[in-house]
């Protein structure tokens, strides 16, 4: 009971707050621009050469306002926004009219979550473990070489790194498909499909694991270099505990816990990276959907993607918070 009150309840409140603030920001920030998406669409239609009489324009405007949730006063629009969030109904998509946005999202979201989860867990684990070992043996030459390589990779943004891998491994040395994965309905789940998925997801996942892992590597290395100098490590070593045991059981384990908290803070940015990488490799996730939505001016779709992303990130942070007591006995036994 105390665990619930001291640990769980604040997390749940935070969960609700993050979603509330996020959705509110998504509602208000675009309105600060003073631009009207409805007028924009009409301008686009007219620019394409269609001549509309004033009555048709007014009807069109009404319909578009309804579809965009721009009807009524600001407060009414705000309520509409929340109704849409709760029902996950964002109206029809424009570039695949009349498919509802919700249906598109349902097809693409699992792919993004799969990539997001796999690459985040892998990059976190690999980055921290390798970073920890490199930090413990920071005097060795292999550790210094690794450090120098990472100094070059670290500042490269997701899109550029993706393009480099794509050029190298899909064109120069065509190991992987350049066009990405195509998904269709009614695919039979067989070995061939699984292999195709693995082949198509490899490069996007590799990009994310390297770029994410590099950040964890650097943080962990610094942490371990500090933990290493603490008395208990010295004591264990003098006491004749095997080096390997000292590294993994004492040093790494101690330095890894704060990194879980760091992960929770970074998830928003990690997720943005996933969307960007999906665009590079035409991976069939929300990033690709976003690309298509933006290039075709599909405001409803972009809105749906943004809202769903906020929900995904907030949920991921909550899950991480719920997992944390399993890793840290101090919280379990408080």
């Amino acid at each position: 009971m105390r665990f619930f009150r001291d640990y769980l309840a604040p997390r749940l409140v935070q969960y609700v707050l993050v979603i509330f603030c996020g959705i509110t920001a998504v509602f208000f920030i675009p309105r600060l621009t003073g631009q009207d998406p409805v007028l924009e669409i009409i301008a686009q239609i007219q620019a394409q050469g269609a001549s509309l009489d004033p009555l048709a324009v007014r009807n069109l405007m009404e319909t578009l306002k309804e579809l965009y949730g721009l009807k009524g006063s600001l407060f009414e629009q705000y309520l509409t926004m929340w109704r849409r969030v709760f029902t996950l109904d964002f109206g029809p998509s424009f570039f695949q009219f009349p498919t509802p946005v919700a249906q598109l999202l349902r097809i693409y979201l699992p792919w993004t979550i799969g990539l997001f989860a796999t690459s985040t867990v892998l990059s976190w684990a690999l980055g921290n473990i390798i970073g920890g070992i490199a930090g413990y043996f920071s005097g060795k030459s292999w550790s210094k070489i690794l450090d120098a390589v990472i100094m070059v990779i670290r500042p490269i943004p997701h899109y550029i790194f993706g393009v480099v891998l794509l050029i190298l491994f899909a064109y120069v040395w065509p190991l992987f498909p350049a066009r990405g994965l195509s998904i269709g309905r009614g695919m039979a789940l067989n070995l061939e499909l699984v292999l195709a998925i693995l082949r198509g997801s490899f490069l996007p996942a590799l990009t994310l694991v390297i770029l994410g892992g590099v950040v964890w590597f650097q943080q962990m290395k610094l942490l371990v270099q500090n933990v290493k100098r603490e008395d208990f490590v010295e004591y264990a070593r003098v006491g004749g505990v095997k080096e390997r045991r000292v590294v993994f059981r004492y040093v790494l384990k101690n330095a890894m816990l704060p990194q879980v908290t760091q992960l929770a803070l970074a998830l928003g940015q990690v997720f943005s990276g996933v969307l960007i990488v999906e665009m590079v490799f035409s991976y069939p996730g929300m990033g690709l959907l976003l690309y298509r939505g933006v290039t075709r001016g599909d405001y409803n779709l972009v809105m749906g993607i943004t809202v769903l992303s906020i929900l995904t990130i907030a949920t991921a942070v909550l899950l991480l918070d719920l997992l944390y007591p399993l890793l840290d006995p101090r919280i379990r036994h408080r």
Partner: protein, 285 residues
């Protein structure tokens, strides 16, 4: 000057500085360009590098090298606007929140945290979508500035928090100095190095973000930047057609620019953190 000599002893600072200088020279070369940056079909199309066009020409009939000089210049302009304007916001928010504390601090930091948790990139895209027609260099820079201050405001605030607790703050207040003079004369010099290193990081972020916005077609595509150059190369299937000189130019330039900036910033912030400096000197002996 002493500090500069010390910094140059770090190979990362020296290398970063030389690369950055090289790119700045390239950017200034754009003023001497024989070609117009926007007009198409000025030279034969799709030629590989040769003596007349050292980086070849692209499918739009432009010289890749001279386009690239404009691209670096414009990307740097966007990044500088974004970096400098968001520094002003970050400094104001950080100083006010750190020095005043209390409710104001909580509200401002709540705002900053809010901006950090939501996927900023998506909100940036939504806003850019609405402003699409008017995304010139200046406006793109301002838009990035609007979203780029949150993390650095936090960093600056924590520095101010620790400065506020120091002895000299009390001395200054008790000797009758006004808040403004305390903040500007005493705190600003202390935080300048920190602000400088956040500026470099922010510039790197802005350059990366501009590329994504350009790929999405959300900036004015006719103005050459690192992002739009890459976007055109991808649109014209430069990868598939093997026009490597076209697509690799913005990629290589971006990597050089960002690596240079990153090395400068790491070197400066290590120089500022005496603990790290001791470790470095210790590791050397």
């Amino acid at each position: 000057m002493e500090a500069l000599r010390e910094l140059f002893r770090d190979y990362r600072f020296a290398v970063g500085f030389v690369i950055f200088l090289f790119l700045v020279v390239l950017a200034f070369l754009s003023f001497a360009s024989p070609y117009d940056p926007i007009r198409q079909l000025q030279v034969p199309r799709d030629r590989p590098p040769s003596r007349a066009h050292i980086l070849g020409t692209n499918s739009k009939g432009q010289d890749v090298f001279w386009e690239a000089t404009f691209a670096i210049r414009n990307s740097l302009i966007i990044a500088l606007i974004a970096g400098l304007v968001s520094r002003i916001v970050a400094i104001l928010v950080g100083f006010v929140a750190g020095y005043r504390g209390g409710t104001l601090d909580r509200v401002l930091m709540g705002l900053a945290d809010g901006l950090l948790v939501i996927p900023l990139f998506l909100i940036l895209v939504m806003v850019a979508m609405l402003l699409r027609g008017s995304m010139t260099l200046v406006n793109t820079g301002l838009l990035l500035a609007f979203f780029g201050w949150a993390w650095d405001a936090r960093t600056i605030r924590s520095q101010i928090l620790s400065l506020r607790e120091r002895e000299f703050t009390k001395t200054s207040v008790l000797s009758g100095n006004g808040t403004m003079s305390l903040v500007i004369r005493e705190y600003l010099p202390f935080t300048t190095p920190l602000i400088f290193s956040t500026l470099i990081n922010n510039i790197a972020w802005a350059i990366g973000m501009e590329i994504v916005l350009a790929i999405l077609g959300l900036v004015r595509l006719e103005i050459p930047t690192l992002g739009t150059t890459l976007q055109w190369a991808i649109t014209y299937q430069a990868m598939l057609l093997g026009h490597w000189w076209w697509i690799s130019t913005p990629v290589v330039l971006t990597i050089l620019l960002l690596v240079a900036l990153y090395w400068l910033s790491v070197s400066v912030s290590e120089y500022l953190d005496p603990r790290m400096r001791i470790q470095r000197i210790g590791a050397r002996s």
